[in-house]
Symmetry: C3
Subunit: 140 residues, 3 copies
């Protein structure tokens, strides 16, 4: 049994739901040394999320954004946290609704994902910088 930990950085992206499976895997060459285990991805931010959804049709990601922007609207009269921009407080809420951490199985050196599953970076801010993920791989 062993543990490998590292911080990886995803490039900055506009507001939206972005398929980042390949970009994450490009940073995790260490996966190959695990026969069986878990890979924990922990996004070190409070206005973006990690989630899993369809890896094929880009229209799914388009509709995620359209729905989520309506679910958590900007400029609600009862918001009091308004100094950092109209999309900041909605970004915090969206971040926790979709969550910032994912645990994915590892088997024979690869992430175990269903046929249609990919990893989304959900960017809820309009002008975000790079996003950092703290990765922990544990297994044998």
């Amino acid at each position: 049994m062993k543990i490998v930990q590292k911080t990886i950085t995803l490039k900055a992206r506009p507001r939206g739901f972005h398929l980042v499976t390949s970009e994450i895997l490009s940073h995790l060459k260490e996966l190959k040394s695990f026969h069986a285990g878990l890979c924990h991805l922990f996004l070190l931010h409070t206005s973006a999320s990690l989630c899993i959804n369809e890896n094929a049709d880009p229209s799914v990601r388009h509709d995620f954004l359209a729905f989520t922007d309506r679910l958590v609207p900007e400029n609600e009269p009862y918001y009091t946290h308004t100094l950092e921009g109209s999309e900041d407080m909605p970004a915090h809420i969206k971040s926790s609704l979709y969550g910032q951490n994912l645990t994915i199985p590892i088997n024979t050196g690869q992430l175990v994902l269903g046929t249609w599953q990919g990893i989304y970076l959900c960017e809820h801010r309009d002008f975000a910088s790079n996003r950092k993920i703290y990765v922990t791989m544990i297994g044998e």
Copy 2:
């Protein structure tokens, strides 16, 4: 320390929130060999979810469905991913809002759950097939 991984299959169910604790446990006889650890359940799909909620009154599961169908409506004019049925895009969104993965503690050969906690399979499609869960048990 050891790891056991396996894929289990839950029988097909109609759209709704279904209590599946017993069905999952019936596939996890290996739990008995763990004194302490974690059990990670990873649903290999993008239109269903796993979550934890009340294991007693079925009215809770009824109301989860009624609320969730209103939270993420079908046939929104701004949906563009519409070819797979009117409930398909909402199913993707619901899948990520409730999430597809759960980690539950293991102690003395059993899952550690609160008195009122059970595992729900949240089926968001109308005519889904069997649902597969990739299970990783890690511990000692």
Copy 3:
């Protein structure tokens, strides 16, 4: 590699989003003995949640409550689970939307959290008692 498990109790709080990082850490002196690992927090309840969000401006927590109470309203005519109080069924739904379990990396004896990240106890009931978290620390 080792595992430490324990149940910790958070004091009762009113309905709201509460920053509990310090209270949780005060119960987890064992973290110091881990060089690298994962800390899994599992809330043993179905009407409260654990999530991660901003640890600084209290207005964020205020707005989380205001938004969440509107997202999942009380007294909806289609609710059938109504005997335990008007906020009970909404509390169940909120509990699963934000989730009851969190996994946080451990490095050099401390939880790895982003600069602005803190742990929230999301209390969805009006008159809740203490809340119990089953903690599993695994690593080396």
